[in-house]
C-alpha cells in the first residue's frame, strides 16, 4: 500500500511546485494539478479497496520518529479512507469542472485549490488536536483565497465575512485547545479521550470551546449567514467541494472530538443537528436562488448527520452505515447539484427550466434529489430506515418526528424545484455545456447509482437493485430513444410475463390485487399505443410504479413493504407530473404520500421495537401499549393513498390533470395500493383500542364521511375528470368502510369494490379522456349531444355509470347487495346513515356525466368530431365485456376470495352453489336477474318498435319549445351548475375546509421562513454577533451537561 501520508505531501508538494512554474504555462500547471489530484484519488481509492477487504488493518501513521503525545499521529481506517476518497474525488471532479476558470486564474488558484484539498484530507486523517487546528486554518485561508480570487464583488464581500467568522471560530478553537492541553498535558485526541471523565469534570468549558468551534465549522443553523453567502457567491464547483468535502471533513472532526466529550455531549450535538436540519430546510422553502437554496440544503444535511453523530451511543455497529449513507448521499447529491448549477445561466430557480429538453441532465437532477431525500434505492433510504428503527428502539420518538418533519420540508422544496423545471411556463435560455462539465456531472450520477448498489449490498435487507421489477423499470432508461409504441409492447409484455411467473405464488388476496395491477395495468397501457413519438419519461416512471406495486403485494417484511411503497409513490409522482397543468397537484401528491410514508415508517419502527428486520406477520404480536399507535400511524399512511377525507386534497387535481392514459392508472390501480395496505394491516392487527375507542369504528366513520363528501363534491364539478376523481374518493371511502366493518361480507364487499372500481373507473377515465381529446375541453357544459358522434364512448360511459350506481343487472349491484348483507351483522349502525345518504347522491353526478357530455344539445363546433381514437376505445370495449362477465358470474373471482376470507372471519360467508348466491339474510341470482330484465326489456322494446315503426328522426332543434325555436345549442343545453338547488340545500357541506386547513399550514410555514430569514441581513458584523450569540446560547442551554445534571 502507498503511504497515506503521500496524500498530504503529494498535494502540498504539487502546490509548491506550481509556484515554481512560469505564469504563462497554465495548461501545464493545470495538467500537473489534475495529475496530482488523480494520484491522490487513486491512493485513497486503493486504501478503500484494501481496507474494505481487511477492515482490521487500519494503520496508525507516526510522524517525526516518536509516538504520541510527542509527535503528531494520523490514522487511516476504512471510514477515513472512504472520506478521503470522497474528498479527493470531489476535488478532482471540481478541478475538471473548473478548467476554464483555473486556466484564467492561473497557477496560484490551482495551488490554493490543492492546499484546500490537502487540508481537508489532513482534517480527516489527523489524530492531533493542534494539527486539526492547523488544517482548519488552512481550509479557512484556502477558502477565503479561492473566494477572493474570483474577482466578483459579491464574492469579495462573502470572503471577508467568512474571514471574520472564521477568526471568531479560530479563537474559540485555539483557546479550547490551550485549556485542554493545560489540563490533560497531551494534544493527542486518543489520549484526551482516555482522560475524558477528568477533562469534562474539571474543565467543562475547555471542551465546550473545542466542541463549539468545530460545530460552528459545520455552519449550523442559525449561525451561518456568512456560509450561505459563500455558497451563493462562490463558483459552484468550489461550493461543491465546500459542501461535500469540507463538510465531510468537519463532521469527521466533530466525530473525533466527541470521543473526548463522551456520551454526555452527544445530546447537545443532536440538538444542534436537528435544529439545523429543520431550520435550514424551513428557510430553504422560501428561497428563489438556486445556490442559496443548495447552501441551505447543505446546512440541513450536515445538521442531520450531526444529529446522527449525536445518536452514536445507540446506533452501535450500524453507525457507520447510517452516518456514511447519509453523508455520501449528501456529498454526491449536493456536489452534483452544485456542478449542475454551473450549467445554468441565471440564478433564479426558474432558470433551471433550461434542463427541460435535456433528458440526461434531467435524469442527473432527479438522481441527485432522490439521493438527497433518501428515496429507494439510494443509500439514504437504507440509512433512514435503520436510523428510525434504532431510534424507536431507544424510545427517542420525538427525535424521529423532528427528523421526519425536516425530511418532509426538504422533500417539499426539492420536488417543487423539480416540478418547476418541468412545468414552469417559460423556458429559460440554455447555457453552453462544455464537455468536461457534463462528464463531471455524469460521473456523479454514476457514483450515485454505484452507491445505491453498494448500500444495497451492505444492507442486511437485501439489495433493491436486485429486485427484478425495479431493474425492469430501469431497463427503460437506456431504451428511451426508441419509439413509444415499441416501449409499450415491451412494457405490456413485461407486466403480463411477470404476472404469469408470479401467478402460482399468489394467495387469493394477492391474486386479486396482482390481477388488477399487472394484466390490469397492461390493459390500460393498450391506450398508450395512441401516443406517437418517443414519450420520454413515461415508461421508466410507469414501470417504476408498477414495480413498486408488484413488490408491495408480495412483501413479507416491513422493509420490502416500505421500499415498495416509496417506489410506487415516486413512480406515480413522475406520471402525475406529466400532465400539462399538474405541477401543484403532483407537488401535493408527493408531499401527502411521503408524509404518509413517514408515518408508516414510524409505525413500523414502533411496531418492531427497533428491529429493522420485521416480518409483517409479527404485527400480530406488537406490544399492547404501542399497538394502537402503530395501527393509527400505519392506517394514516395508507389512507393518504386511498385519499380518505382529510388527506384527499391531492387526488382531484392529480387525477384530473394527468394524461389520458395516466388517470386510469392512478385511479384504477394506484389507489388500490392503499387498500391493500389496509387489508394487510387489518389482517394482522385486527381491532385496536385507544382510550377505549375502537379504532376500526373510527375508520368506519372516516370511510362513510369520505363516501358522502366525495360524492357531494363530485356533483358540483364542471370538469368531467375532476368529477370522476371525487367519485374515486367516495368509492375508496366505501371500500374503507367495508374493511372497517370487520366482518366477512364487509371484506368481500371491499374486494368487490377493488375489482369493480378498477374496471369501471379505468373505463370511465378512458372514455372521458378520449372525449376530451376530441373536443379539446374537459368542461362538460362545453360538450353535449355527442352520442351519435361517439357511440362507443357513450356505451362505455353508459355501462360504466350503471355499474357505478349499483343498478341491477350489472356488477355494481353485487357490491350493494353484499354491502347490505354486510351491515346486517355490523356492530355500529350510525355510520350507515351517512353511507345511505351517500348512495343516491352518486346518481346525481353519474347522470350529469353522461347527460351533459353525450345527451342534450350538440355544439356547432363539434359537428364534425370523430369517435375517440381506436386505441383508447379498445380497452374500454374490453372493460365492457369484463363488466358483463363479472356481472353474470361474480363467483369466478369472488368465491375464491370468499373462501380465503374464511381464514379470518369464518362466519357469515356466502353460499355459491348453483346460480343463486345466498347469505345468512338474503339471496341474489345474477343470471336470473339478467335474464328477467333482458326478457322484459326485449319484449317491451319489440312492442314499441311494432307500434312505433314509422317514427321519424327529427333535427336537433325540433323540440316543443313554448312555440319558439331554440336560438343556439349553448343556450339550450342545460348543463352548467346542473344541481344548483342542491347546492342551496347541502352546499354548506362542501366548504373546502380541509383544503383551507392544509393551505394554511403551507402558508404559515412559508411565512415563517420568509420572516425569520431576514435575520440574515448580509452584514458581516451581524453575522459575527449571531455567531457569538449562538455559542452563548448553546453554552447556556447545555450547562446541564457541564455540571453533570
Amino acid at each position: 500500500m502507498v503511504d497515506a501520508l503521500a496524500i498530504i505531501y503529494l498535494t502540498l508538494g504539487t502546490a509548491f511546485l506550481l509556484g515554481l512554474l512560469r505564469d504563462e504555462w497554465r495548461i501545464l500547471a493545470y495538467g500537473i494539478t489534475l495529475l496530482s489530484l488523480a494520484m491522490v484519488s487513486g491512493i485513497a481509492s486503493t486504501w478503500v479497496w484494501h481496507l474494505a477487504d481487511n477492515p482490521a488493518e487500519s494503520v496508525e501513521i507516526m510522524t517525526a520518529g516518536a509516538s504520541p503525545p510527542f509527535a503528531i499521529n494520523l490514522r487511516m481506517g476504512l471510514a477515513e479512507a472512504a472520506a478521503l476518497m470522497l474528498a479527493t474525488l470531489t476535488g478532482l471532479a471540481s478541478t475538471i469542472f473548473l478548467k476554464d476558470t483555473l486556466l484564467r486564474l492561473g497557477r496560484r488558484a490551482m495551488a490554493v485549490l490543492l492546499v484546500f484539498i490537502m487540508a481537508i484530507c489532513g482534517i480527516i486523517l489527523t489524530r492531533d488536536i493542534f494539527n486539526l487546528f492547523v488544517f482548519f486554518e488552512l481550509v479557512v485561508i484556502a477558502t477565503a483565497g479561492l473566494v477572493l480570487l474570483s474577482h466578483n464583488e459579491r464574492s469579495l464581500g462573502a470572503g471577508f465575512k467568512y474571514l471574520m467568522a472564521s477568526q471568531v471560530v479560530s479563537i474559540l478553537l485555539l483557546v479550547g485547545i490551550i485549556f485542554n492541553y493545560h489540563v490533560s498535558g497531551s494534544l493527542n485526541i486518543d489520549d484526551m479521550a482516555g482522560m475524558s471523565d477528568m477533562l469534562i469534570q474539571t474543565t467543562p468549558l475547555a471542551f465546550f470551546l473545542l466542541f463549539i468551534a468545530l460545530i460552528v465549522e459545520l455552519k449550523p443553523f442559525p449561525a451561518n449567514g456568512w456560509a450561505l453567502d459563500i455558497y451563493e457567491s462562490a463558483h459552484p464547483a468550489f461550493s461543491a467541494i465546500l459542501s461535500a468535502a469540507a463538510g465531510t471533513a468537519s463532521l469527521f472532526a466533530v466525530d473525533k472530538v466527541l470521543a473526548i466529550g463522551g456520551d454526555s455531549w452527544l445530546p447537545v450535538a443532536t440538538g444542534i443537528g436537528v435544529l439545523s436540519f429543520i431550520g435550514a430546510n424551513l428557510f430553504a422553502l422560501a428561497q428563489t436562488s438556486d445556490r442559496r437554496l443548495l447552501g441551505y440544503s447543505s446546512v440541513a444535511q450536515i445538521g442531520l448527520i450531526l444529529a446522527i453523530i449525536g445518536q452514536r451511543d445507540i446506533l452501535g455497529d450500524s453507525y457507520w452505515l447510517i452516518a456514511g449513507g447519509v453523508l455520501l448521499a449528501h456529498a454526491v447529491g449536493k456536489a452534483g447539484l452544485f456542478w449542475l448549477s454551473g450549467l445554468i445561466a441565471e440564478r433564479e430557480l426558474t432558470a433551471w427550466t433550461a434542463l427541460r429538453d435535456r433528458p440526461l441532465l434531467l435524469f442527473a437532477f432527479i438522481s441527485f434529489i432522490a439521493l438527497l431525500i433518501g428515496l429507494p434505492p439510494f443509500p439514504g433510504f437504507y440509512a433512514k430506515w435503520e436510523l428510525i428503527h434504532l431510534l424507536a428502539g431507544a424510545d427517542r420518538i420525538a427525535l424521529i418526528v423532528l427528523i421526519l418533519f425536516g425530511a418532509l420540508l426538504e422533500t417539499a422544496y426539492l420536488f417543487r424545484w423539480f416540478g418547476l423545471i418541468l412545468k414552469h411556463d417559460e423556458v429559460a435560455e440554455k447555457a453552453p455545456c462544455p464537455i468536461q462539465k457534463v462528464v463531471v456531472i455524469y460521473s456523479a450520477v454514476v457514483a450515485a447509482w454505484s452507491l445505491a448498489y453498494l448500500w444495497g449490498e451492505l444492507s442486511v435487507f437485501g439489495n433493491l437493485m436486485h429486485a427484478i421489477p425495479l431493474l425492469f423499470a430501469l431497463l427503460f432508461l437506456p431504451l428511451e430513444g426508441l419509439p413509444a409504441r415499441i416501449k409499450n409492447v415491451l412494457a405490456i409484455g413485461g407486466l403480463v410475463t411477470w404476472f404469469i411467473l408470479q401467478y402460482p405464488l399468489y394467495d387469493p388476496l394477492q391474486l386479486i390485487f396482482g390481477a388488477i395491477i399487472l394484466p390490469g395495468g397492461a390493459l390500460i397501457l393498450l391506450a398508450s399505443f395512441h401516443n406517437q413519438g418517443r414519450r420520454i419519461g413515461f415508461y421508466p416512471a410507469a414501470l417504476w410504479m408498477f414495480a413498486g406495486l408488484s413488490m408491495l403485494i408480495v412483501a413479507e417484511d416491513s422493509f420490502t413493504f416500505f421500499a415498495a411503497w416509496e417506489s410506487l409513490t415516486i413512480g406515480s409522482y413522475f406520471l402525475i407530473l406529466r400532465g400539462k397543468h399538474s405541477q401543484p397537484h403532483a407537488q401535493s401528491y408527493i408531499l401527502f404520500s411521503l408524509g404518509g410514508a413517514f408515518l408508516m415508517l414510524l409505525g413500523f419502527a414502533l411496531a418492531s421495537a427497533g428491529n429493522p428486520l420485521f416480518p409483517l406477520e409479527s404485527l400480530t404480536t406488537v406490544a399492547e401499549d404501542v399497538a394502537p399507535w402503530v395501527f393509527i400511524l400505519l392506517a394514516l399512511g395508507m389512507m393518504t393513498k386511498t385519499a380518505a377525507i382529510g388527506v384527499h386534497i391531492w387526488l382531484p387535481g392529480a387525477h384530473a390533470e394527468a394524461e389520458t392514459d395516466v388517470s386510469p392508472l392512478l385511479s384504477g390501480i394506484l389507489l388500490k395500493a392503499g387498500l391493500f395496505g389496509l387489508f394487510i394491516l387489518l389482517i394482522y392487527m385486527g381491532r385496536q383500542q385507544l382510550y377505549g375507542i375502537d379504532l376500526t369504528h373510527v375508520l368506519l366513520w372516516v370511510g362513510a364521511i369520505s363516501a358522502l363528501l366525495g360524492n357531494l363534491m363530485a356533483i358540483y364539478q364542471e370538469d368531467a375528470k375532476r368529477l370522476l376523481a371525487y367519485s374515486s374518493i367516495a368509492q375508496m371511502g366505501y371500500a374503507l368502510f367495508g374493511l372497517a366493518l370487520m366482518n366477512h361480507l364487509g371484506w368481500l364487499m371491499a374486494l368487490m369494490f377493488v375489482v369493480n372500481h378498477y374496471i369501471y373507473k379505468s373505463m370511465l377515465f378512458l372514455s372521458v379522456g378520449g372525449v376530451a381529446k376530441r373536443t379539446g375541453t374537459k368542461e362538460m357544459y362545453r360538450m353535449g349531444g355527442l352520442i351519435t358522434l361517439m357511440p362507443l364512448s357513450f356505451i362505455a360511459v353508459l355501462i360504466g355509470i350503471i355499474a357505478v350506481s349499483g343498478v341491477p343487472p350489472l356488477s355494481g349491484f353485487g357490491g350493494r347487495w353484499i354491502f347490505y348483507n354486510a351491515i346486517m351483522s355490523a356492530e355500529y349502525r350510525l355510520p350507515m346513515v351517512i353511507i345511505f345518504l351517500a348512495g343516491p347522491i352518486a346518481f346525481l353526478y353519474l347522470f350529469r356525466l353522461i347527460h351533459t357530455i353525450f345527451l342534450g344539445q350538440l355544439k356547432d363546433e363539434h359537428r364534425k368530431l370523430k369517435e375517440a381514437p381506436f386505441w383508447i376505445i379498445l380497452p374500454q370495449m374490453i372493460y365492457v365485456a369484463c363488466l358483463m362477465v363479472f356481472a353474470l358470474a361474480p363467483g369466478l373471482a369472488l368465491r375464491h376470495v370468499d373462501a380465503y376470507i374464511d381464514n379470518f372471519f369464518p362466519r357469515n360467508g356466502l353460499n355459491w352453489e348453483g346460480l343463486t348466491i345466498t347469505s345468512t339474510y338474503g339471496y341474489w341470482s345474477p343470471v336470473s336477474i339478467m335474464i328477467v330484465v333482458g326478457v322484459i326489456f326485449a319484449t317491451l322494446f319489440a312492442w314499441l318498435v311494432f307500434v312505433n315503426r314509422r317514427a321519424q328522426k327529427v333535427k336537433q332543434f325540433n323540440i316543443v319549445f313554448a312555440a319558439e325555436r331554440p336560438y343556439r345549442p349553448e343556450t339550450t343545453h342545460f348543463a352548467w351548475n346542473f344541481f344548483a338547488p342542491y347546492r342551496k340545500a347541502l352546499g354548506f357541506m362542501t366548504q373546502p375546509l380541509v383544503t383551507r386547513f392544509w393551505a394554511t399550514v403551507a402558508e404559515s410555514l412559508h411565512t415563517s421562513a420568509e420572516l425569520f430569514r431576514r435575520l440574515y441581513t448580509g452584514d458581516g458584523q451581524t453575522y459575527a454577533i449571531q455567531l457569538l450569540g449562538f455559542v452563548v446560547a448553546v453554552y447556556l442551554l447545555s450547562s446541564g451537561v457541564f455540571y453533570g445534571v
Binding site: V807, W817, F836, G922, S925, S928, V932, N948, K953, F978
Partner: protein, 301 residues
C-alpha cells in the same frame, strides 16, 4: 325456490291484474283530488281511453336511440320491480319472479327505470327535460334516505332481507305489522313515500307551471303510452314493497286492493292540502323531519 316455466303465465296474470287496477286507481285518485277542488273530474275509464289513443297515434318522431329506449327502460323498471317482489303472501301463483333476488334487488331496481328514462329525456335535447331530471334526482337523494333507513331497520328487526320472510313475520294479528312493532321505521318510510309519489308538496319534478311536465316533455304517442302504462304499474309496485314491509302484506287480492288504496291515499291526503316545495326545501325537509325518525328506528331496533 327456483324457476319454473309456469311462473311466466302466473307473472303475466299478476301484471294484468295490476295494470288494470292501476289504471282504475289512478283515475279514481284523480277524481278524488278533483272533488276536493270542487271539480267533477275524469270518468273512471279515462286512462284506458288515453292509452288506447296514444298507442294508436300515427304521428311519431324520435330524437335518437336513447330517446327511443327511454320509455322502454321506464316500463321495464316498473314491470321488473313488480315481478321481483311477491304480490300475494302465501300464494305460489303470485310469488312472481322473486327467486331472482331479495329486498335489495327491489330497492335498487327502482332506479333502473328512472335512470333509463332520464337518459331518454336527456337525448331529446329539451332543457325542461334536463331541468326536471335535475330536480328529480336532487329530491330523490334526500327522499330515499329515510326509506333506506327504515328498510335497514326492518331488515335488522326481522334479521332477513327476504321479502317473503318479512311478510311471514307479520302474520297472525295486525299488531304484528311493522306499523306497530316498529312505528318509527314506518313513520320515516311513509314520509319518504310522500317524496316519491309525484304529488304535492313534492311534485316539483313535473312542475306543470314552470317546466311543463318535466322529463317527459318531448314524449308523445306510443312513447307516452308506454309511460302511462308504467304510471299504472310503478306506483303500485312500489306500494307493494311498502305493504309487504310495513303493513303485513296481503294474503288475497281484495286485501291487496284495499291496502294499496289506503297507502296511496296517504300521499293524496297530504297532496291536496299542501302547496309545492322547492327542491332545496324538500331536501331540507326530508333531512330535518324524516331522517331523524329513520335514525331512531335504526338505533332502537
Amino acid at each position: 325456490m327456483g324457476f319454473e316455466w309456469i311462473k311466466i303465465p302466473y307473472s303475466l296474470l299478476t301484471l294484468f291484474i295490476v295494470v288494470n287496477y292501476g289504471l282504475l286507481l289512478n283515475a279514481l285518485i284523480a277524481k278524488i283530488a278533483a272533488r276536493v277542488g270542487r271539480r267533477h273530474g275524469i270518468p273512471i275509464w279515462q286512462n284506458y281511453v288515453d292509452m288506447i289513443k296514444n298507442y294508436g297515434l300515427r304521428t311519431s318522431i324520435t330524437h335518437g336511440v336513447m330517446f327511443y329506449m327511454g320509455p322502454v327502460f321506464r316500463l321495464s323498471g316498473g314491470v321488473g320491480l313488480l315481478l321481483f317482489v311477491p304480490t300475494i303472501y302465501g300464494s305460489v301463483m303470485f310469488s312472481n319472479l322473486s327467486f331472482a333476488g331479495d329486498l335489495i334487488l327491489a330497492l335498487y331496481f327502482v332506479f333502473f327505470g328512472t335512470l333509463g328514462m332520464a337518459l331518454g329525456a336527456g337525448e331529446s335535447g329539451h332543457p325542461y327535460a334536463a331541468i326536471g331530471v335535475s330536480r328529480g334526482l336532487a329530491q330523490v337523494t334526500a327522499a330515499e334516505l329515510p326509506f333506506a333507513l327504515a328498510v335497514f331497520a326492518v331488515a335488522l328487526q326481522y334479521e332477513t332481507l327476504s321479502v317473503t320472510e318479512i311478510v311471514a313475520a307479520q302474520q297472525g294479528s295486525y299488531l304484528n305489522w311493522t306499523l306497530f312493532t316498529n312505528p318509527f321505521a314506518v313513520a320515516a318510510a311513509m314520509l319518504s313515500f310522500l317524496g316519491s309519489m309525484m304529488r304535492p308538496p313534492f311534485d316539483v319534478v313535473l312542475a306543470p307551471q314552470e317546466i311543463p311536465i318535466g322529463p317527459p316533455t318531448e314524449y308523445h304517442s306510443s312513447y307516452l303510452a308506454l309511460m302511462q302504462t308504467n304510471r299504472a304499474i310503478f306506483p303500485i309496485a312500489k306500494m307493494v314493497v311498502y305493504m309487504n314491509l310495513f303493513f303485513g302484506g296481503a294474503v288475497s287480492w281484495p286485501i291487496f286492493f284495499v291496502k294499496i288504496f289506503l297507502i296511496y291515499m296517504v300521499s293524496v291526503l297530504v297532496g291536496v292540502v299542501f302547496p309545492r316545495f322547492h327542491v332545496e326545501h324538500s331536501v331540507r325537509w326530508f333531512l330535518i323531519w324524516a331522517v331523524p325518525l329513520g335514525v331512531i328506528a335504526v338505533a332502537i331496533v
